[in-house]
């Protein structure tokens, strides 16, 4: 009886009694969701163009943030440091395509996946060798990102909006929209979709696979840098940050590995779902800490009942 009360009555009573807490929870879930979407987008772009599941996306988030902070520490202006970091990510994209992917064309997907695991270790070791393993502060103010907060009084309580969270959500939405437009409305975007549909057909009409791969790896680098700045502003720049990117996996399962809208919706569902579940059910019934696995349980359910995800293409194979 107590359990039924904790599941069906108490959470809703708390929501009603503390509307400010509910709104705060939804806001935190939305902010986390947009950042999950952003990280997931990095995976989707590369998967769509090359069929490669890029295991290195998480460490790319850390690596981009480390390069930015490291270059700025050399006395370079913050905005110039962003441009230099973008240059480094472009160089990384070129190197990955020429040194890792190109020699492995026509190899099974699992080989390419393993290659990205290798890339992860190279980026971890390279990052630690050059920048050291110590955590570093993100240059939030130097980048002109807002600090401080605004309050909104609701039902006798307050909802606190951190300005950095607002900025994170706005930037993530703009970037996601920009990438969606770029890949849907431009010539390069159409070429990417052609490559995603059929490599050989795309090659036969003169689309350069190498060029498209470089573009998507660079786009994934831009996404990684943005996610790195925003997430590190909430904590610090450290190698532990790469684990946050793992949250993109259930997002991908939910949204589908090839769908940009899927990555967005999936990210928001996971972000909002895990926060609401933890606060109203997880902490009271299961002792808390449910954020660590909630998203994966949702992903598991989707794998059982809708393995292609919400927006993924249904795979039909002739046997």
């Amino acid at each position: 009886m107590e359990l039924l009360n904790q599941i069906f009555i108490e959470p809703f009573q708390t929501m009603y009694a503390l509307p400010d807490l509910l709104l705060q929870t939804l806001w935190e879930g939305f902010v986390a969701g947009t950042l999950y979407s952003l990280i997931a987008l990095g995976f989707v772009l590369i998967f769509k163009a090359s069929g490669v599941f890029n295991f290195a996306q998480g460490i790319m988030v850390v690596f981009a943030a480390l390069v930015l902070v490291g270059v700025h520490a050399l006395g370079v202006n913050a905005y110039l440091a962003v441009l230099i970091t973008l240059g480094v990510m472009a160089l990384l994209a070129m190197t990955v395509v020429r040194v890792v992917l190109k020699p492995l064309v026509n190899q099974p997907d699992i080989i390419l996946f393993m290659a990205t695991i290798g890339l992860t270790y190279i980026l971890i070791a390279g990052g630690q060798l050059v920048f050291g393993g110590e955590p570093k502060a993100m240059i939030t103010e130097e980048l002109g990102l807002p600090t401080g907060s605004s309050d909104w009084e609701v039902g006798g309580g307050i909802v606190i909006f951190q300005h950095i969270d607002i900025a994170a959500a706005v930037i993530a939405v703009i970037l996601i929209a920009g990438l969606a437009i770029f890949f849907n409305k431009t010539r390069v975007g159409r070429a990417l979709r052609a490559v995603a549909d059929d490599h050989q057909a795309a090659l036969s009409v003169g689309i350069s696979l190498e060029y498209i791969w470089m573009v998507v790896w660079f786009a994934a680098g831009v996404v990684a840098l943005t996610a790195g700045i925003m997430w590190a502003a909430k904590s610090d720049v450290s190698f532990a940050l790469q684990v946050v990117a793992l949250k993109a996996l259930p997002v991908l399962v939910l949204g589908g590995f090839t769908s940009i809208p899927g990555a967005i919706i999936g990210g928001l569902i996971i972000g909002l779902g895990e926060k609401v579940f933890e606060l109203y059910w997880g902490s009271t019934i299961l002792g808390g800490g449910t954020e660590a696995w909630f998203a994966f349980i949702i992903a598991l359910l989707f794998l059982l009942y809708r393995p292609e995800g919400l927006f993924g293409e249904k795979l039909i194979e002739r046997i």
Binding site: T14, L18, L21, Q24, T25, E28, V31, A32, G70, A73, L74, G75, I124, A125, Q128, L129, V130, F131, G132, G133, E134, P135, K136, A137, M138, S149, I160, Q162, W231, K234, S235, D236, V237, S238, F239, A240, L241, V243, V244, L246, K247, E274, K275, E278, L279, S283, G287, G288, G289, E291, A292, W293
Partner: protein, 444 residues
């Protein structure tokens, strides 16, 4: 190109050269059998300069290495025997820690300082078999404080349980603890869960209520929901058993929900410079326990600067000397050095063994007079080795973040030994009962 201080010039170049040199040395380690001169003292250092916790592991390893390097340079070692320190990278992973242990124990290791509760738990059963003591300084298994049950494991200067009791005492003396709600946010691994039995025991005795907020390892930097829970529960005080990136994230989230910082206390692994520097001003007022001094205003630290850092023999940047975790590593080396001296005096040997070292760890005296003699007056509370008490029941002090640095804000706070000791004894009994052929000792 001339590069500025922290990430620049000589520092970065030095790191790259050291990195390349480390690779070369690591390569050679696997192809040659190390041989050490007869009159040497071999100390393996299980360090983690890589991975998610490198921010803590690097300065600790530097402080540990630099004190021994100073003793070698200034005094020619300890008791006429040079110290040979060999680092082995664990990445804070238990399996790597065990690999390091197995790879180095045959070289005449005097003791192991694992710097990870996970690794310590793996090594505790090995210590009596290989006769090499474990010194888990202020971490590891709290029950190891009972020397009669754990002859080969030490956790000077205090166990986690003693530390928690000191923190609760501090709360009690700052407005009273009776009727208060204490929030306990912890890394959801063995280390973070370690003080829970003590909280369960003390809550009814002291009249407070406690509520736990576990944070999974992979959510260290993703704590928004946890702190929404804190906001819902409205605790009067928060205590953190965090590590690595979990600490700055927790402090930032606490600031975000406007939890009063001077009612938020971290343990001694949650209060390093690396933890609060990324937070800066919003963390002003946050408190943390500590048992080793801050800064370089100690003659021993000055000797380290003179003989090691200025001589270019340290891996640490000069501005990092004297920071919390650097001094923690240095203090660990001090206890090791004092135990070596005690063992040499007891056995009359220059080059001692692991078994001799165990005797040293049970008989060293680091009282106020000795602390002054070695240039560390006021650095820490006195610690005296003993057969029965392997934690020393050492006192802690609290330090407070002023927005840019740590400041000591309390006198030494002794643990509630009368409450903690019976719990430690019960836990030690329980551990020993589960082991087959466990050897205890009698301390008379």
């Amino acid at each position: 190109m001339l590069l500025p201080e922290r990430l620049g010039g000589n520092y970065m170049l030095k790191k790259m050269i050291l990195g390349a040199a480390s690779l070369a040395v690591a390569g050679s380690m696997y192809t040659t059998t190390p041989s050490f001169a007869e009159d040497t003292l071999y100390i393996p250092s299980l360090s983690y300069r890589t991975g998610a916790f490198a921010g803590a592991g690097t300065p600790i390893a530097n402080g540990f290495a630099d004190y021994f390097a100073m003793l070698n340079a200034r005094d020619g070692g300890i008791g006429g025997a040079k110290i040979v320190l060999e680092e082995c990278e664990t990445g804070y992973k238990a399996d790597k820690g065990v690999e390091c242990y197995e790879a180095t124990k045959g070289n005449g290791a005097l003791a192991y300082n694992p710097y990870s509760t996970g690794i310590t738990l793996q090594l505790i059963p090995k210590a009596p078999v290989d006769e090499i003591p474990i010194l888990s300084m202020g971490y590891g298994l709290s029950a190891a404080a009972i020397g009669e049950k754990f002859p080969w494991t030490f956790n000077y200067p205090a166990s986690y349980w003693s530390q928690m009791s000191s923190i609760l005492k501090y709360i009690d003396s700052n407005g009273g603890i009776k009727g208060k709600k204490i929030g306990f946010i912890y890394l959801d691994v063995g280390y973070g869960r370690e003080p829970i039995p003590l909280l369960d025991q003390l809550a009814p005795e002291m009249g407070f209520e406690w509520v736990g907020f576990p944070v999974a390892g992979k959510d260290m930097q993703n704590q928004a929901a946890t702190w929404l829970n804190v906001r819902k529960e409205r605790p009067d005080w928060m205590i953190a058993w965090s590590f690595g990136a979990m600490t700055p994230t927790a402090v930032k989230e606490a600031a975000k929900i406007r939890f009063p910082m001077d009612k938020f206390i971290g343990n001694w692994w949650s209060g390093a410079h690396a933890d609060l520097e990324p937070v800066g001003a919003p963390g002003k007022g946050y408190l943390a326990a500590n048992f080793s001094g801050i800064g370089t205003d100690f003659p021993a630290l000055q000797d380290v600067l003179k003989h090691v850092v200025d001589a270019g023999k340290s891996q640490a940047a000069k501005e990092d000397i004297g920071k919390v975790n650097y001094n923690r590593g240095l203090f660990n080396a001090v206890i090791m050095a004092e135990a070596i001296r005690a063992a040499q005096a007891k056995t009359g040997k220059k080059a001692i063994t692991g078994a001799d070292m165990r005797l040293g760890l049970e008989s060293f005296v680091l009282d106020e007079a000795r602390l002054k003699e070695i240039g560390l007056e006021g650095f820490t509370a006195p610690v005296v080795g003993s057969c029965a008490d392997h934690e020393g029941a050492g006192s802690i002090f609290l330090q407070q973040w002023n927005g840019s640095d740590w400041e000591r804000v309390s006198d030494l706070i002794a643990p509630m030994t009368e409450v903690v000791k019976p719990l430690l004894e019960a836990a030690a009994d329980s551990y020993v009962k589960e082991q087959a052929d466990w050897k205890t000792q009698s301390c008379g």
